[in-house]
Symmetry: D4
Subunit: 146 residues, 8 copies
């Protein structure tokens, strides 16, 4: 059985690659998608549309160009994995989770135990909470088995 999985959230560790490798090692028929995860490119996504003097509008333009991609890919996916790392605010990850919740799109969260409390609303609408990439691979292995 084939599945399309969108990987949302943290971009500073290689968790996406680990999950992809795990899926491949298990021979899973899963297509992975995500936002552009090159941080600098992502921040500059709107720069070619003209320079901005204000950082707000620079961010605004880049975020919207990124959203053309992310919105389309989230809506086309069968499952979204939302990763919250140790650092940074990662409000975009929580935003994606809320977006999925309203669409009725299943998502699972991936985060360590020490941030259970601040993530309680995000976890409450998720289909699962995983603490390791291996667990995510296990979920994919299970849900796509013949």
């Amino acid at each position: 059985m084939s599945f399309t999985v969108y990987l949302s959230g943290e971009i500073h560790t290689d968790w996406r690659d680990e999950i992809k490798r795990g899926a491949q090692a298990n021979g899973l028929d899963v297509v992975f998608t995500s936002a552009v995860t090159d941080h600098d490119a992502s921040d500059a996504a709107g720069d070619h549309l003209g320079e901005e003097s204000s950082s707000f509008w620079r961010d605004h333009k880049s975020s919207k160009v990124n959203a053309i991609r992310t919105k389309t890919l989230i809506e086309a996916s069968d499952l979204v994995v939302v990763r919250f790392g140790d650092k940074y605010k990662q409000w975009n990850a929580a935003f994606d989770a809320g977006y999925c919740a309203a669409l009725g799109k299943p998502y699972v969260t991936l985060h360590s135990e020490d941030i259970i409390h601040p993530l309680k609303e995000v976890d409450a609408a998720a289909m699962a909470w995983a603490t390791s990439n291996e667990q995510v691979v296990e979920i994919l292995k299970y849900v796509t088995r013949d």
Copy 2:
């Protein structure tokens, strides 16, 4: 013109009351709604359903009881104001913003200038970004004028 406005996010300052007072001072026909903002009550919302040994499930149950209220009120509102304060992760606020974005429900953000960058995706889908409660009142005054 009457409007229903859901106030989402930070619960440790009295920004909700300030906005309500501002709306009242201006004679606006606005009904304000929100989650239960008593932090302890909110964390304990599911406790009467039985004790849990794990903090994850305690949080889980309470978040879902809270969601019965918040989901209903967000969907019934004309506008959502999402407040991000200086402290805490506030992933629930970003989650609410994503939820609104997917529903096509207009929302405005309310936060200071120093968190523009981490909130860029949340701001990108918002109808406005305000930095003070007064600005939010101004928006309400404008959009509900006869």
Copy 3:
């Protein structure tokens, strides 16, 4: 805050009345709705449309007449409480739960501990699981508080 609550499921005990009395005792602004709970009347809901020789079609006609009411009331409610009692199959209760799940309508289940396992899919999509009418009243009290 006012709320409309649809009470689905078991019709052989007076759980609906207990919840209503509890809501009233707590001064809650809750409107309760439900299917016609008079069992004989419900089974005969389509009889005036003409006699049937087959029990299947008699049931079919009555169920559809009942659905005119239940579908409308479920969709108009803010919350659905689905009660599973000790006896009978109660597939209609599970059907209502699935209906709510697909609509994104919040529901809570109400059943004793000994049927946790067969109800696991129904509970998985619920916002809460209660074991007593008092707990349901507590939930209503909490979610409608000012």
Copy 4:
């Protein structure tokens, strides 16, 4: 004409295989999907996410992992067949039927005559009631003919 058919419900007899064999014998262009029907695997679907001391939460986690698969497959299907057997509560089958009803997804029921009455609401929203696997194959043969 090709069709995708989700087979929901009873997992203790080989009705799914019989229908598949019937479809194959008739050369039908039908893809069949279903939940994971290995009972033990299904009950354990969430176990790798961490042990639970309470049976409620163990069931809860497994049901949600299963729902990632079932929700996706039901929504992607053209028709759902919901089988109610002689034993067990099978509330999940009724839940799937209600889910289909709310989505406007056509489904047919498959059950013996002695449970007509308790299934009347489920049958009322179905496109057909079959009592044998052969009848289901006949339906598929008819609806997919060129």
Copy 5:
């Protein structure tokens, strides 16, 4: 319990009034709506927008002006009654039934026994088939009882 019922179809007999009188005689809390049932006025609904030399466009304009009303009222109703009389094609009645079916809006048909066969698709998606105005009143009485 209050209900809004849209009365669609035949405009050459006084079936609407009979149903209204029946509802009133039974003290039902039902609001009835319908298209403009004055045949000449309905055919001329677009005439004030300018004369047309072709009967097709005259009909076209009037039908669309009528649809402003009927579409709004059908969507706002809880139940639609679709009446097929002895004469005329009444394709608009069947059109309304199909419109309801796609919206998931419950409707009942009202017609005599001799047109069962040509109406089979319309009846198949209906919640009930009535042959008399009294039966329709009975349905309303049942579905709105306290």
Copy 6:
């Protein structure tokens, strides 16, 4: 450009074949779908599910089995052509048109000039009115051109 076109309505002339031949002669990349157009088979579509003593229920069962196919094909099509012939009531054709209208699915009507008036509501929501199969082919040729 490829297009999927559902051909609805009259089954007593070979208009479907004419349109298919026209499309083929023009090398159009159009897939045509339709209900089962073998009248006897269509009337008997539910017979294998058990004999009925009443003609209403026989029709009812067959119509619903047919609807499994037609509903799926209409929703999967890019355009629906609804043909009204000289004979019969053809309420199912008007029903399909109403169904399309509510879904926002484009449809064109195909009928002669003498039934303009009774079809005015059906034509009012259509994207075009054609009087010949050739005109329908012309429309397809135009809308699918590169």
Copy 7:
């Protein structure tokens, strides 16, 4: 019968007032809504959120604040009247028409004969084309009559 009508488009003539007066003179139960029609106020709607050096962002902010109001009012209306005057581009009016079309919200256009051709796509999805305010009042009178 009551109706809510949103008046979109041209803000440089008093057509809104004329229609309101006409409705009042005819005793119609119609509530009229619209964007803020004070041109300067509308252009400055976002100014209190902070000064912008670029005219694009000033316009952007004001348009979004205006959209909080217009989006809500359009979605809450039963009918939208879209007025195209002699001057200015009025792309916002065409935008509102497209918005209505996608929502399935009925709208009528109001414009003179000399701009039929450039408005053909906008008129094609409208329920009527009026050339005078009196005609719009006539439509309202007709669709809301008892």
Copy 8:
């Protein structure tokens, strides 16, 4: 990553070809769609359905035939580019933008700086504003990168 992009608006310059050439030069996996851009053919799209004496109805018929194509293609696209040129009213372009906005379909605008003000509502709901074809190609390159 593959993407489907609908090119809406101006038909008097070769901007569509420039964007296609740019996409090809960059090896992008993008499928481009659009309305029929042959102006005369587009104006005559409904002519084969019969002659009209009034220009309004000729335009009406052709616009609707065109809409069969454009509505389908817009809904099937991942992104819409809406081009406003120097000449003509181009209300259809603004209409398409409003259509996209209501569907939640991402679109970008393409126009020169001198029409920022009249396009402010259209730009406000867009994901980006580009002033050159090259910028559009850059956006496509970015959002489809692996």
